[in-house]
């Protein structure tokens, strides 16, 4: 254990240089050509396969696996991308253990599903590394569509619209397109700048212009977009972060997990990224796990992930929970934060145990903390949006909002899980609906 490991406070460079590469390498290295054949051979080519039903984008999984097995990974990639243009990223970040692989009959049979995610990655990587884009634009329609948000929903929508011959402009508040693919997601799930490469590859369809640094509300208004385009698709992210609701929440060292994750994704040199010695993550979803695991991988000595309910209620899948545990993250459940202690900067955070109905038990404990990440959910921000349902944009059918000519999909739209793959499906389906409306 090096000296820097024990140094209290939020410090950069806690690890040897080589450790960063090792810690942030590919979580699941790509299967090699032979491993792929063995993995593909396990697919039973089920009739009306349950894995297809379980996939929000309804990729024909048995077909693409058979195409891989017969030495045509490029054809397999087309099968995938035809349904899910971000099939490359979804292969990396999908919680397959709760989607296709959970539905796989071999999971039912022997607890070992076909490695659908890894097979999908093999196929999409094979095609994309050849620089091939298998889709072509239809004849230009002259219709202009605005897409707000260059995340999975917006990109999927834009690609499908462009394919149908429409001209699309994507506006995004950030400096780079990609949304959570670029700024969210643990670094070890998308190595070597894959998110950026995937966007570049997607844009090969043509007909899509991306304007970054353009934020809805400050740089653009919905009315303007509506007036200057034939249709608008809203694929915004959730810009707000839920607060803990405690006093002294503004103390130094208390940060948003999403910001930490974004900084980490954008960091050119992880050794320069500071992290606490004692890190506490509050929350029980994927964001909480991504922050906790990466804090540990950056060299934090103690990382605790604290969730107010039981393990079975965590939004993070069992796979993610196990991953966190395997990296040395301590998972504490049935405890909610009640006080922040420290003079200027946070030093300790106090929790109270709760029962399953969140009733406080009166028993408290304190965790040393020089860095606290809040990961208890994000919210949609913005004024003048179409009618909301709860805290998100209400939609009917394929993403139609309360305002004619405006569609919405992805995290900002009500309904569906906040998953990349769900966003892609919603963006794609909205694009088809927009196309039908425009071409009437």
């Amino acid at each position: 254990m090096s000296d820097t490991t024990l140094t209290p406070g939020i410090k950069a460079g806690r690890l040897d240089a080589a450790a960063y590469d090792e810690n942030f390498g590919d979580l699941h290295p790509r299967l090699d050509d032979h491993e792929v054949l063995v993995a593909a051979d396990r697919c039973y080519f089920c009739h009306d396969a349950p894995c297809i039903t379980a996939c929000p984008t309804e990729i024909d999984i048995p077909l693409f696996i058979r195409q891989i097995a017969t030495g045509t990974a490029e054809a397999a990639a087309e099968t995938i991308l035809d349904q899910n243009i971000l099939g490359g990223m979804c292969a990396r970040v999908c919680p397959t253990e709760t989607l296709c692989e959970q539905a796989c009959v071999r999971e039912a049979a022997e607890g070992k599903p076909v490695l659908i995610g890894q097979l999908q990655r093999y196929a999409t990587d094979t095609l994309m590394e050849q620089g091939k884009h298998p889709f072509a634009r239809a004849v230009r329609t002259g219709k202009q569509v605005a897409v707000v948000g260059a995340g999975p929903a917006g990109l999927a929508c834009a690609h499908r619209l462009a394919m149908h011959g429409h001209d699309v402009t994507i506006y995004d508040a950030r400096q780079k397109p990609g949304g959570l693919n670029e700024y969210g997601i643990a670094a070890y799930k998308s190595v070597d700048g894959f998110a950026e490469r995937e966007v570049d590859w997607l844009l090969q369809i043509g007909g899509i212009t991306i304007e970054t640094g353009k934020s809805l509300g400050s740089d653009l208004t919905l009315d303007q977009l509506k007036a200057s385009h034939d249709a608008v698709f809203l694929g915004l992210g959730l810009g707000g972060v839920n607060a803990l609701g405690l006093e002294a929440e503004d103390k130094d060292g208390i940060e948003n997990a999403v910001d930490f994750i974004a900084d980490l994704r954008q960091a050119r040199d992880l050794a320069k990224l500071p992290v606490g010695r004692d890190v506490v993550v509050i929350g029980g979803g994927m964001t909480a796990v991504d922050a906790a695991v990466q804090a540990k991988l950056l060299g934090a000595l103690n990382v605790s992930l604290v969730y107010r309910r039981g393990r079975d209620r965590m939004n993070a899948s069992v796979f993610e929970q196990d991953l966190a545990a395997s990296k040395g993250v301590r998972i504490i459940t049935n405890a909610q934060p009640v006080a922040i202690h420290g003079n200027g900067a946070v030093r300790e955070i106090e929790f109270e145990y709760t029962d399953d109905s969140l009733t406080p038990t009166g028993q408290t404990f304190r965790l040393a903390a020089d860095q606290v990440f809040k990961a208890i959910g994000q919210t949609l921000q913005g004024d003048g949006l179409p009618k909301l349902e709860g805290r998100k944009i209400a939609v009917t059918g394929a993403g139609r909002t309360s305002v004619a000519g405006i569609w919405a999909g992805g995290d900002c739209a009500a309904g569906g899980d906040d998953l990349t793959v769900t966003a892609v499906a919603e963006g794609r389906d909205a694009a088809e609906d927009i196309h039908s409306s425009l071409m009437g």
Binding site: H34, L37, D48
Partner: protein
Amino acid sequence: MANLESNFIGIKSPNPFWLASAPPTDKEYNVRRAFDAGWGGVVWKTLGEDGPPVVNVNGPRYGAIWGADRRLLGLNNIELITDRPLQTNLDEMTRVKRDYPDHALIASLMVPVDEDSWKDILSRVIDTGCDGVELNFGCPHGMSERGMGSAVGQVPDYVQMVTEWCKKHSNLPVIVKLTPNIADIRKPAQAAKDGGADAVSLINTINSITSVDLDLFAPQPTIDGLGAHGGYCGPAVKPIALNMVAEIARTPELAGLPISGIGGVTTWRDAAEFMALGAGNVQVCTAAMTYGFKIVEEMISGLSQYMDEKGFTTVDELVGRAVPNVVNWQDLNLNYVTKARIDQDACIKCGRCFAACEDTSHQAISMSEDRVFDVIDAECVACNLCVNVCPVEDCITMERLPEGDVDPRTGKTVSDDYANWTTHPNNPMKCAAE
């Protein structure tokens, strides 16, 4: 532990597992190691006439069919008979037989179809002390183009003639190795028997092209852009070999003709199946080429355990035990009515049974919204395809309808009486009822 000692046409060996005449038995070094590993006998790589030996190609000799994890399922070869000088082989055989007197050593022979050639080679192999000869009438490539191997085996008259010469010019037991590249295996078997053969061995390899290189547009294995057909062997050919063995074993005119079973024997179970269908022993090649000589240990322990479980004390109690149950189609009981039954607890809901039945059979499996698969007895003809495509062992089974039940497909009451096609009313050739 059961006694595995084998006495095949008077040739004794510690067990019924012999290595077939092939690359594994091409030289002294291999054969000594094979005997040390536990093989009961060896048929030496085929010897040709004296003089300059044959030459082999210098490119690939083998092509293969694999499962997804490179499990070798079928092997094709274009190797010829031994390409070493005759005297070298004879000297080695002599030394090996001297050192392994209790193991079987058979000389495999292939020389041109004239009596003097056979007489000459026989006189030379007798001096090795070998236990018998096997006449290679099976090799389907290369040598057959020169009028030997399967070119002889495909002409029953030649088979008989050469067998007669061999019996005339030696006192050694003669095993005639048959080619499967023929319409009716019983014909050359009969010819061998008529010629005085002590036994037949089968099958030799099957004419085959393993695969085609779709870039070169050439058969594989490819030699400088060209390919020739080879001989197919390995696990893939076993069903063909089993049938040919059974055809000979159950033919009354051939009854009692000893058989050495060859063709895809990979495990003790394969060996037991050949023996149950009438083979007195088995010969193995591809399995040894794939996994090495050590596999014989599993064959010995497996057959021994099986025989103990069955209460067999000698291998002869197993030999031919299944032969009476091999019949012609017309002898099958048409009153034996079964239906597929799906064990819902074991079912993993893959739907393969449904796809197979719905698309390619009798639309006898229903599928519910929640993926429950059920057999529709009124449509099920008991073809067994669902059983075969189901990935879960014993999930789908065929259950016999008891006597007195009505088969909902035919509306007929099930009878326990045996009734076959020969007496069926639809048969225009049916025998008289009396």
